[in-house]
């Protein structure tokens, strides 16, 4: 569980996050949605420790990040998995080496043990037999799945995803969404996912936080988002044709 309390962050006198309070629940897919420039990525980077908050606290399983010693911070980072928008695979390494990377860096396992775990994880993301390929030799969807495999190989407690579906076709995007949700439930991970994709909201939005101009404007579930009267949320959500159709179908009782 990640608890955010009164989080503020700004750049050059411009306040991007204006006092966010929110709890990301364990074993659930927690989505952050909002328009471009609403502060989603800054919020995520604060949770990842890439940006230092100006004010407020972020607690990991009840312990504030600011009270972590350097060693504890490093340990916490080994418990985090991150799926970047573009995958961020190391392009000088093969798929297998990419997935093995966190194990090589943080464990004292023998190569055989590491390879066994790598193959297990690659199999879990349906990428058996691609271990020797370079990232440039596989498709965008496969790259995302390799990135997921790398993020979960070290059995993280927290999984962060920054727009995992960007640049993917709808079918592959659904595969990625479902994979993230299954892994979250299987391993009881606290998953935080930023998305613009309304299809993802419908598919895996177990908990949704809506950011508007650096403020948490609304929170709820995928079922609640259809019934909310909050104008900011409806303006954003119903700009999507998919949502309009789903709501219309609901209203017609289909």
């Amino acid at each position: 569980m990640i608890q955010v309390k009164d989080l503020h962050k700004g750049f050059n006198e411009q306040e991007v996050l204006k006092g966010i309070n929110y709890t990301f629940e364990k074993g659930k897919t927690n989505l952050i949605i909002g328009q471009s420039g609403s502060g989603k990525s800054v919020f995520l980077k604060c949770m990842l420790g890439l940006f230092k908050a100006d004010k407020g606290t972020i607690e990991y399983d009840g312990k504030p990040y600011s009270t972590f010693s350097d060693e504890e911070q490093r340990e916490l980072r080994t418990e985090m998995g991150m799926l970047f928008q573009g995958g961020a695979l190391f392009d000088s390494m093969t798929v297998e080496e990419n997935v093995m990377f966190p194990l090589t860096m943080f464990t004292r396992q023998r190569k055989g043990e590491m390879l066994k775990r790598v193959h297990e994880v690659l199999e879990r993301v349906n990428l058996e037999g691609t271990g020797n390929k370079m990232p440039s030799e596989i498709s965008g969807g496969m790259q995302k799945r390799v990135a997921i495999a790398r993020a979960i190989v070290n059995k993280p407690k927290y999984l962060f995803c920054d727009e995992p579906n960007s640049g993917l076709d709808p079918q592959t995007a659904t595969v990625i969404d479902n994979l993230i949700m299954e892994l979250t439930h299987e391993n009881d991970i606290t998953t935080v996912l930023i998305t613009h994709d309304m299809n993802s909201v419908l598919e895996i939005g177990e908990r949704i936080a809506f950011l508007k101009e650096g403020v948490l404007a609304w929170k709820g579930t995928k079922d609640e988002i259809f019934n909310t009267e909050d104008e900011a949320v409806t303006d954003f959500v119903y700009s999507s044709n998919l949502f309009q159709k789903v709501r219309k179908a609901q209203q017609q009782g289909m």
Binding site: G49, F84, D91, T104
Partner: protein, 245 residues
């Protein structure tokens, strides 16, 4: 102010490079990889340039020695001095700023653009140490490249001077040994060690702190080459002033 900020940022980067170290076994592999890419990959072009520039130096000197009172052996003396003192350490380093420096900037810059550096940081890895430290260590073998350059430069000068009919082999060898000061080699290698550090760190700085996309990676490589050359030339002047004057 921008320059001061960049200089401060460069030294903070260096502090980070020598901060928390990457796992030894991983580092060892990275260092060998960097030696292969930065040093071994440059041997061909350095050898080619050194041989032919050495040859040109000998021909130019020989063609300008019209006075019969000046011994022909001066061709070898002039070639030796210019190759050991300046051509091999400085000229080759500027070429390396273009070849190795651009490679370092663009490879680190591409990693920045594609969030690979963020990925390292999120994993709790000191990305500065992981990316830049192996390059600094690999570049410690750079003096070997300069030694090869010196040897081939003089070999080129010998071939051009002797086979071109400007001097005899004996005259060349006499000139090569004439008034030799061993400290000139020490000076050249002190310079080379400093240059190797500059060649590894200044391009790394430009790659590590670059912002933007693919176009900016190209711009960063060009800026990196310009600044690495400037720093090399200024360092060359300072070291020469300190050690030879």
């Amino acid at each position: 102010m921008t320059y001061l900020h960049s200089i401060g940022e460069y030294f903070l980067m260096l502090k980070g490079v020598f901060g928390r170290m990457t796992k030894g076994s991983v580092l060892k592999n990275l260092i060998f990889k960097e030696i292969n890419e930065l040093i071994m990959g440059s041997l061909g072009i350095v050898s080619f340039l050194s041989f032919f520039i050495g040859a040109v130096i000998a021909i130019q000197t020989a063609l300008n020695l019209n006075n019969p009172l000046i011994p022909k052996s001066l061709v070898a003396f002039a070639a030796r001095q210019s190759i050991i003192l300046e051509f091999a350490p400085t000229f080759i380093s500027i070429i390396m700023a273009g070849k190795v420096g651009s490679f370092i900037t663009s490879s680190i810059g591409s990693m920045r653009v594609t969030e690979q550096i963020d990925a390292l940081e999120v994993m709790g890895i000191n990305s500065k140490n992981y990316l830049i430290f192996p390059k600094i260590i690999a570049m410690l073998t750079y003096p070997c490249v300069i030694a090869i350059s010196m040897f081939l430069g003089i070999a080129g000068a010998y071939c051009a001077a002797v086979f071109g009919g400007f001097v005899t082999s004996d005259q060349f060898l006499t000139g090569l040994q004439d008034d030799f000061d061993g400290f000139h080699l020490t000076y050249a290698f002190i310079k080379t060690f400093l240059f190797s550090f500059i060649l590894a760190t200044v391009p790394s700085y430009h790659g590590y702190y670059m912002k933007g996309g693919a176009l900016e990676v190209g711009e960063a490589s060009t800026t990196s080459f310009v600044w690495t050359s400037v720093v090399l030339i200024v360092t060359n002047y300072l070291v020469t002033q300190l050690l030879l004057s």
